[in-house]
């Protein structure tokens, strides 16, 4: 099929046409990071799975993949946490209530949260990686009675860079959730840990053979955290990681996000560590 033949098909494919959504609220999380609540201007919102991604566009500026970071039980308002890194993400950190944002999605696989039933569950986040994991945590807490021990391990650059600080405090106060937070650097007054996330993994009180783990953060951090989990005895097929690649079309057409045999946009972004561990250590990929 030539490009000319394909173009009309692509232009009418619903997954490729952004729908206008309205900014309902904006919350500043960090100096360069905001959480934007979006609601559809017309028609219903499409429910999403924890870990799925929407493509957000500012018309005339560009389009970026952003994980949904809200509660999947409330799909009508979809929450996205965005850090200003490029032109489009910087633009998204400047939107205000009433502004219009283009939305395509949700796309990709999500966290296999159902696999936590009857098992211990560990959520391992680094930096902004807590955002794609927050829906999974909401889901786990909503189904708390079906799951064994639940732990959140979160690493950040400094105490000032902690995402969702208010919620972290609330989660820490729960008796049915273990929350461990570590930072790379801190001065006196910080009562949490200082060190790397894999060190927290080694202190975990779980039954490793009967544990599922969800890991998201910088790729290097995910590699070391996943290794620490499998060293502990968690099966690699039950360690899931969320990959970030150059996702553009989100429907497995353009090939920008290919990682070995996977289109990260459709086969991922969440993939089992058993499937990607070798690929992430292949220098050519």
């Amino acid at each position: 099929m030539t490009t000319a033949e394909r173009a009309p098909v692509l232009a009418t494919a619903p997954d490729l046409v952004p729908r206008p959504w309205r900014v309902r609220a904006v919350r500043r999380e960090l100096v360069d990071t905001v959480t934007v609540d979006l609601e559809p201007v017309t028609g219903p919102a499409v429910p999403y799975r924890p870990g799925q991604v929407n493509m957000l566009s500012l018309f005339g500026l560009g389009e970026v993949p952003i994980s949904v970071s809200g509660d999947p039980a409330v799909p009508d308002i979809q929450r996205h946490t965005v850090r200003a890194a490029g032109a489009t993400t910087s633009g998204l950190t400047r939107v205000g209530p009433g502004d219009t944002v283009g939305v395509r999605g949700p796309f990709g696989t999500g966290w296999n949260v159902e696999a936590a039933a009857g098992r211990d569950a560990v959520v391992v986040a680094g930096g902004l990686g807590l955002a794609p994991l927050r829906p999974a945590l909401y889901w786990l807490l909503a189904h708390r009675g079906e799951i064994g021990r639940v732990a959140l391990l979160y690493g950040s650059r400094s105490p000032e860079d902690l995402l969702y600080a208010d919620e972290l405090h609330a989660w820490r106060a729960r008796f049915d959730l273990a929350v461990e937070v570590t930072v790379d650097r801190a001065h006196g007054g910080w009562r949490g840990d200082v060190g790397v996330v894999p060190a927290l993994v080694r202190r975990l009180a779980v039954d490793p053979a009967n544990t599922v783990a969800y890991v998201c953060g910088p790729e290097i951090m995910m590699r070391f955290a996943a290794d620490a989990l499998t060293d502990l005895g968690v099966p690699a097929e039950r360690v899931e990681v969320s990959l970030e690649r150059n996702m553009k079309c989100m429907v497995g057409l353009c090939g920008h996000c290919v990682l070995g045999p996977f289109y990260v946009c459709t086969d991922g972004p969440v993939l089992p560590w058993s499937a990607v561990a070798r690929l992430l250590r292949t220098r050519e990929l």
């Binding site: 850090r83 930096g127 790379d184 006196g188 200082v194 060190g195 910088p218």
Partner: protein
Amino acid sequence: MTHALADELAAHPFCIDLPDPVVLAVAPLVTRLDADGGQVLGREGDPAGTFYLLTEGRVALQVQSSGRPPAVLETLGAGEVVGWSWLIPPYRWHFDAVAIEPVGALAVDGARLRAEMDADPVLGYALTARFIPVIVDRLQSTRLRLLDLYGHDHR
């Protein structure tokens, strides 16, 4: 040393892979430490004659800075080891080690252990080999943090 303390020593992650004769050699040098939050286990520059196998609570390794709060380099928790300066000349603490909450630990007389390691090379090799992974683990942790993984360049 009580049987309970000996059992606790043998069950500590530091001793899991050590041969029984090595654990037995360490056992007479162990005492139980229960520290309150804020208690200093080692102070930068002081002679380092003891190391601690943590069984509960957390300890901060930190460095003082005049007129500023101490900078925390790393925190260590149950199952981890605090202190290797007793093993390396000039046998002085490199940093402050401060309990940041109530801490339970097995305190090992490192000065006496070092003398026994000097006298018994097999014991000395086994314990040195056991400490190397601890030191390498801390080095790797430091290297990862040097990468500033949570900065813009990485995600």
